[in-house]
Symmetry: D2
């Protein structure tokens, strides 16, 4: 058994509390529940995906940045499940950017139901050049957009 | 925007390479692919769940330990996606135990397609007492079973 | 190969065009798309489920009928897929009751995107008595509620 | 409320019991269960899809027919759910062809757990020409392959 370490971004950025987050409500489906009666832990990752799509594929486009609608890979994922998530209660997901690299960036997520934080998470997002078959460099308009939501200064490391 | 850090287990245990892992093949469905043509990142977490179920709800039961079939919560999740996962190729998942606490333990996962590691991951699993509505203490038979797969000594910390 | 016929309800009730339908918008998730770039045919059935839940588990409850929130089985399903369903366009689902039996009823669905009908469907719903382990008889308050949405007179047959 | 009838194929072909079916075992995942403790009715449609993929995208290819791996649309779906489907029991799906048209064909499904039939179903499958953006005509090698599994003579009607 060789199981060396996933090298994910630290999920604990220094916060810039002045930075705005992007906030949305993600409707929970009845089928998101598993046999234990609350939202399944894997389905939570789908809800994060949906929140990210609303941000980068819809809001950013409305702001004039359509680059993010092209394929993006997820390189790393980190979730801390804090409370069970229930169908029938509104789920609010607030996101910010916690790292910007040359060819990737990290989104941080904080989700709530009835004012209780139900999970915190982060994903490393890698915009992908399908023709070249590899990660592409972030362009200036993208960097400007992401910087508006940056909650910590760019750090060295993964690019 | 308040987005403090997920406090997940470190995904990098010191390895005891003598410890056996539990290995299984998880069939990939056509529908596990997303519009980008490979297995969706959230669906990977379902594949991990399925591997864990084969281990703790089926293999452990065959070994006489049926406690793990009762509800279990996932407290934390960590995935490093290394390569795209494709439908049509066999997916092998090897798991081991990388931490044992009083009321939780951590599973490490290494998954491969065609001898290439496609993801590494870890999940913190919390056996749950549905009647009491809270985490329960691991019992001796469970601890003995988990210890057979332990790839690092128990560490202080999350219990 | 023995494959006798599914005996589903006819999906073609005589319409009572004066009857009101229950109409809702079901948000499509990015992950509802399959590798072919439109909403997967099986996922359409999940969208129907979600529409039905909004009707019977939420609207009916708001109207004072909470019986339908108890487990219900689906005994038969019929879908005619008319056009591809796309992420990014609003999906409207209109439902009505096309049959009321003693222990089951049939919901008819008509779904649209941009004023085009994308699918028509029907499901036979069986309220279930979990304690008795079998279908239960519909009670008067339920029958009254369903009758308000009935688009054809009750017919003989499946009960 | 305008809800005219889905015009699906009759699910009741005259059987040619001499015709062979294609039979496969579809592994049920823990996550296929919904909150009611058995396999969700929409997920059953995913299991049908998976059985169809094993047949047309894998077995047919092994037999030298790779045309079916190209995109196919589902035009109609019919399921009769006969018994709850449980995780932990083997699910066997037997399929045959119950109609062959010029541009579509119908697959019939009979699924069993522990020798009990749990559902019967049919789907109208439409091979699709992605470049032309429309249904394509079935070619001779496809027709020959499908005919080997035909359980009733071709009927007039949908092509």
């Amino acid at each position: 058994m060789t199981s060396p370490a996933p090298q994910v971004d630290s999920p604990a950025p220094a916060l810039n509390t002045a930075a705005p987050g992007f906030k949305c409500v993600i409707p929970i489906r009845w089928s998101d529940q598993d046999v234990n009666g609350h939202v399944n832990n894997a389905r939570v990752v789908t809800l994060m995906e949906e929140a990210r799509i609303q941000w980068l594929n819809q809001h950013a486009v409305a702001e004039g940045i359509d680059n993010f609608t092209a394929p993006k890979l997820i390189a790393a994922l980190n979730v801390e499940y804090l409370k069970p998530i229930f169908h029938g209660l509104e789920l609010t997901v607030e996101m910010a950017i916690s790292r910007i690299g040359n060819r990737s960036f990290t989104i941080s997520y904080t989700a709530s139901q009835e004012s209780n934080i139900v999970f915190r998470a982060s994903t490393v997002v890698v915009p992908f050049d399908s023709n070249a078959g590899k990660a592409r460099t972030l362009v200036e308009t993208e960097l400007n957009y992401l910087n508006k939501y940056l909650i910590s200064p760019p750090r060295d490391g993964r690019s």
